[in-house]
């Protein structure tokens, strides 16, 4: 018998010393990590979950916003517009999928039309291109399956898979010597002279000159470990449905007029890269910031919205629910609907950079936000370019997207491309192996899922999960109790039936 294959090990940097410690491996943390990799200096990312993009960065709509939703002269508007402009180059360097997808913000009556006009004007002030207001007839000709009287038509919105983008950033950062530490939560930050001591739930302490707090929904807690700055995150849950693949029902993203006192953009309909449709998110302020459960009431509300805007969608099968939590800040006026991003060097503790309240449009803004953070650092010290930085990430093979000829060729090169592990999304064993052996060395079932789309289709893993589990046991020598859905508390099995 051959030796069991191992996933690629990542050296565990026990009690090491760094120039930069980034807390949180969401899209913001990973964007900053990759941006810092362009300069000299040792960077460590500490993440409490078992993978990057484990919370808000995986559970959103995956929309790159054109920039008309945010008030002018805010960080939200600025980073949105700047970030969006950076995505094309990023997608070429990092080889993640991105598709320009037009958007309609739909008004049902004259009252709502006023809000569209406001958004149009706001977009103009923010420098957004490709916006215009249209009426019912034109809506019908664009989208025969939706209801609406007026719409704001945006040409330049895009969709991505937010987890894929985050993974791509992290893998590229990792390739450029950024280190990632998973399954350790930061519990303590102290300052000794000019060195931060960052303690973790596993009892490790890491030293660093800079600490960058990208802890998302926990960013206020992390900031408070160093100093009392008064920021407070108000977690706001957003629930979603995902439908089975549906081509042709809608071509564009369909958004309602944002609810007046709501906390989000309203429940919308987003076609995904793979032709599913996302329905959501809802917006409910909650007290427990880890509560990503789906609720019966919201599931009902989401369905009601379907009937209002796209009645034809009611007949499509749903395949999954999920929920994410917006890390909302509330501004001084007590207005729950708008507070700007906080991206600043901590007012009391220098060399600690806080990123707090990075909710929507944080995904779109991420590249610009990362740039801002590097500028904050660069204003304090000379950052030296890392000439060895390689901006390129190799494109993973997506068998399903290839022509028959290309598929046949791949199988000749590697027969594992001829073994179909996931039938719904046509994912081959070679792609599963590639996902399991990812550069970050994470290998829960969810990690595999987000890297190759296995378990994401209409059968939700009914066919492929036993096959993937079989690979993990037989080829990688994993014990049954060590097969996890995501983190180490989420074991699939409690042992063998017969020892």
């Amino acid at each position: 018998m051959s030796e069991p294959r191992k996933t690629r090990p990542i050296p565990a940097p026990a009690s090491s010393t760094h120039d930069f410690i980034i807390i949180g491996a969401g899209v913001i943390g990973c964007s900053i990590a990759r941006e810092l990799a362009k300069y000299h200096g040792d960077c460590l990312v500490i993440e409490k979950e078992d993978d990057v993009a484990s919370e808000i960065s995986k559970a959103n709509s995956g929309v790159l916003h054109a920039g008309f939703y945010m008030p002018p002269n805010t960080l939200k508007a600025k980073t949105d517009v700047q970030g969006l402009a950076m995505f094309k180059k990023l997608s070429e360097e990092l080889n993640f999928e991105m598709r320009t997808n037009e958007k309609l913000v739909v008004a049902m009556d004259e009252e709502e039309l006023k809000h569209l006009e406001f958004l149009y004007e706001q977009g103009r002030k923010n420098g957004v291109k490709g916006l215009r207001l249209i009426e019912e007839q034109e809506i019908r000709s664009m989208e025969p399956n939706i209801n609406g009287k007026y719409a704001l038509h945006s040409l330049f919105s895009s969709i991505i898979k937010p987890y894929e983008f985050t993974i791509a950033l992290a893998e590229n950062a990792c390739r450029n010597r950024v280190r990632f530490l998973f399954n350790e939560a930061v519990t303590r930050i102290t300052r000794h002279d000019s060195t931060f001591h960052v303690g973790t739930s596993e009892g490790n302490t890491f030293l660093s000159r800079w600490v960058i707090n990208c802890a998302g929904v926990h960013s206020d807690d992390v900031s408070r470990m160093a100093a009392e700055t008064g920021y407070e995150i108000h977690p706001c849950k957003g629930e979603y449905y995902i439908t089975d693949k549906v081509e042709g029902l809608i071509q564009r993203m369909i958004y309602p007029v944002p609810p007046k006192h709501g906390a989000g953009l309203g429940i919308h309909f987003t076609p995904t890269i793979e032709h599913n449709i996302l329905i959501g998110p809802s917006a409910q302020y909650i007290s427990d910031r880890t509560d990503t459960s789906n609720t019966a009431e919201t599931m009902k509300t989401l369905k009601t919205e379907i009937h209002k805007y796209i009645p034809g969608l009611a007949n499509i099968d749903f395949i999954r629910n999920y929920a994410g939590i917006r890390p909302k800040l509330i501004d001084g006026k007590g207005d729950r609907t708008f507070a700007d991003f906080v991206i600043e060097e901590n007012k009391k503790v220098d060399h600690l950079i806080d990123l707090i309240g990075i909710e929507s449009p944080g995904l779109t803004g991420a590249p610009a936000i990362a740039q801002m953070v590097v500028d904050i650092i660069g204003n304090k010290e000379d950052l030296k370019r890392n000439e060895a930085f390689d901006p390129h990430r190799e494109k993973p093979v997506v068998f399903a997207a290839l022509s028959c000829e290309q598929q046949a060729e791949l199988i000749q090169e590697n027969e594992e491309y001829g073994i179909m592990v996931c039938r719904c999304e046509t994912v081959t064993q070679a792609e599963i192996v590639n996902a399991i052996e990812n550069p970050l060395g994470v290998c829960s079932l969810d990690a595999v899922k987000r890297r190759c789309r296995s378990m994401m289709g209409r059968c939700q893993g009914g066919f492929c999960t036993p096959r993937i589990v079989g690979l993990l046991l037989d080829r990688y020598g994993r014990k049954p109790q060590e097969i996890y859905k995501n983190n180490r508390k989420s074991n699939l099995f409690c042992g063998l039936i017969k020892d």
Binding site: I319, C404, I411, G418, M420, C459, P466, S490, L492, F493
Partner: protein
């Protein structure tokens, strides 16, 4: 790219596909090819280690693997070639079948195609249970695969949602394994989902509680399942406030329905039926695409594997006739399903047909009803039932002197 030409290609080597391949060959087609995506023949039968198979076909109780063995022996006797580990990726409108395996991509040009891909399980996402999404929630078939084929223990305290046959069989299976315990079986409907014999043999004999009109209304545990809230439901299947009850468990098996797996049929251009979610077929089991046939669970969900195999035999016979003699596409007449009928099969009758085997299921259990089948005004069949169940497929043969062109089937109330 490898190219092949065959007379008949059968997709799927489960109970229906194996029988169809054997039957095609026996009816005089030499060039038959059987395609199977697993590395073994028999499909889902191999993980069904319980008995109950073969009563109709072999007049004895066999386990799933034993039943598969008999079909496979026949296949070997008939010397039908098969490709294992071979997944069909596409069927185009000209009946070109594209298959992937470790040898490469194969394009198979077939005169006739028999669709026998089986079904998949309905998942949590489709039935929308609120709560967290932790590890520890399995569809019953996946749990069966893990336990029987991989020797893996999915959990200790197991609740089963859904009283379909797979759910009840898995409840008994859990009762028989050391260190595993079936807490209860829940059923949202006010009646049993599966066969009565399975309730007796799987639940009653092992004292496993069954709660009707009950469903899961909350799932607890962010990482691994830690418990459920269950609630009674009203006549509209909505949970009734105040009836919530918390149950401690670490595992939930879902046995909440099977869905014919017709993605390939759709690619081939085959019209599907809303009632069965399988292909629309005529009395030859020919679909809307000439020369494409369908049998087994991909056509409609069967109660027992034997019926799927019988359908396979029948379709093999018809596919052979199509290849050897050929036929013109005739006029087809729809059969109308009336009161109380959930679905019927075939949906269409070919012109000049005078004899027909009709399969149907009722919507829910009924008492004191008459099943009535008519051709125009002429009664072809009537039978009184003191009790008729949704879980039991009915099979009826009808004959007529005149061609069947206006067939209706319905339920009528009768006196007790």
């Amino acid at each position: 790219m490898i190219r092949r030409e065959v007379d008949v290609v059968v997709i799927g080597a489960g109970p229906a596909g194996l029988a169809a391949a054997v039957s095609t060959k026996r009816n005089g087609v030499d060039n038959v090819l059987l395609l199977e995506r697993n590395e073994f023949l028999g499909g889902i039968l191999l993980q069904c280690i319980h008995d109950g198979f073969g009563l109709h076909l072999y007049d004895r109780m066999l386990s799933g693997p034993q039943y598969a063995e008999r079909l496979i022996e026949d296949l070997e006797k008939e010397d039908v070639p098969c490709l294992l580990n071979s997944m069909v990726l596409d069927i185009d409108k000209n009946k070109m079948v594209t298959v992937a395996n470790t040898k490469g991509l194969i394009q198979i040009e077939a005169k006739a195609i028999i669709l026998a891909m089986g079904c998949r399980e309905r998942t949590r996402g489709a039935i929308e249970i609120p709560g967290f999404r932790p590890a520890g929630i399995f569809t019953a078939g996946v749990a069966q695969n893990f336990m029987n084929l991989k020797n893996l223990k999915p959990g200790k305290e197991v609740v089963i949602l859904g009283s379909g046959d797979v759910g009840m069989i898995m409840a008994r299976h859990v009762a028989l394994e050391q260190g595993m315990h079936p807490v209860c079986v829940l059923e949202i409907m006010p009646f049993l989902g599966g066969l009565t014999r399975n309730k007796v043999q799987c639940l009653d004999d092992y004292d496993i509680p069954l709660h009707l009109s009950t469903t899961v209304t909350d799932i607890k545990g962010k990482h691994r399942l830690q418990g459920l809230t269950i609630s009674k439901v009203d006549e509209n299947l909505k949970p009734i406030k105040g009836t919530e009850q918390d149950i401690a468990c670490d595992t939930l098996f879902l046995s909440v329905g099977l869905i014919p797996e017709n993605e390939l049929s759709r690619k081939a251009g085959v019209a599907l039926s809303r009632g069965t979610r399988g292909a629309q077929v005529d009395n030859n089991h020919e679909t809307s695409v000439p020369g494409v046939f369908s049998a087994g669970n991909v056509l409609h969900i069967h109660d027992v594997a034997d019926y799927a195999s019988l359908e396979g035999y029948y379709v093999g016979e018809k596919a052979a006739e199509y290849v050897n003699k050929g036929w013109d596409q005739p006029k087809r007449f729809p059969i109308q399903a009336g009161n109380g009928i959930m679905y019927l099969l075939p949906q269409l009758i070919r012109e000049d047909c005078r004899e027909l085997e009709l399969k149907f299921r009722v919507k829910r259990p009924y008492e004191n009803v008459r099943v009535l089948i008519k051709n125009g005004d002429v009664r072809l069949y009537q039978k009184k039932f003191t009790r008729i169940l949704a879980s039991e497929m009915q099979i009826v043969r009808v004959k007529s002197d005149r061609p069947l062109s206006d067939v209706t089937i319905c339920l009528e109330k009768t006196d007790a």
